[in-house]
Subunit: 173 residues, 2 copies
């Protein structure tokens, strides 16, 4: 029979991108996001960002995305795009460091000025932050915060990590 | 007077790469490593890997490298290149997943099969690991392990992280 998702308007789009194996890998996601205009230019969407996005959603550790993860990602991406455009007030396609700090605060993350500074140093190109790097930052911050919170069951703001678990949480993203 | 490094044979090379500001940023490092043939092909050395390498050595959080960090990086890169070639037994310019696991063990990291599996999922392209991704993996594993060990002063294999410190250690790399 038809797969349960066959009535979903995004199903045809997904299967076209996913190809024969029925899952989306990082290269396929890169082509898809570049063609969908998510970079705001002709340059390809950052492949590393695609890998990090897949790693974030890849609960079965296959390195690929099924249909539900793909839809989840598109929803998150649309939210980040809106957020980014709200802070990119001069419509340059990039945000400035202080706008990036505001955006991170607006998303509800409570981090120190030192952390904001380190994040901006890491994700800027020539003093500005492009959308694909912005997304890489959002994805990573969300995944790290989720990992931390899952372990901080008493909500004390601190977690005791074993070495192996620390590497597992941090190496794949 | 001349800078203290002026007698060093690498000083001229460094200043040519660093340009006017006297420090090497990620784009300058990418050009340098691509021209030096570190990718083993004409494709550019992964820019994300360059950013991670600079973040690892960037003790003053400027996002750039001075001369001493640059030399330190070249030493580390030469070591990783030798290591990579040792495991790339068919001289394909890539290593296979099981060779990658052996290499990580040979570097002295003690991680579980689950972690090795997650690392390989993250850094492979089409089932093989290229040199620039291999370096990204080595750099990140080293930086995370160093951060962990600095906090694990009693060498108990576990560390209590505050949220802000956890994000600081993990977001920039």
């Amino acid at each position: 029979g038809a797969p349960p998702a066959a009535n979903d308007p995004m199903w045809g789009y997904f299967t076209a991108i996913a190809g024969q194996d029925g899952e989306v890998d990082a290269e396929e996601l890169q082509r898809c996001l570049t063609q969908a205009g998510f970079t705001g230019s002709y340059s390809p969407f950052n492949l590393e960002t695609c890998r990090v996005m897949i790693a974030m959603l890849d609960r079965d550790y296959t390195g690929k995305m099924g249909f539900n993860e793909f839809k989840e990602l598109f929803t998150a991406l649309s939210g980040w795009k809106q957020n980014f455009m709200m802070f990119d007030q001069d419509r340059s396609g990039t945000v400035e460091p202080h706008e990036m700090s505001q955006a991170i605060n607006a998303m509800g993350y409570r981090v120190s000025p030192q952390v904001l500074n380190a994040i901006i140093k890491r994700y800027n190109k020539g003093g500005r932050i492009f959308f694909d790097d912005y997304v890489a930052c959002c994805v990573k911050l969300r995944a790290l915060t989720d990992s931390f919170r899952r372990r901080d069951s008493m909500q004390q703001g601190s977690v005791n990590f074993q070495y192996d678990d620390f590497i597992l949480c941090t190496m794949a993203i």
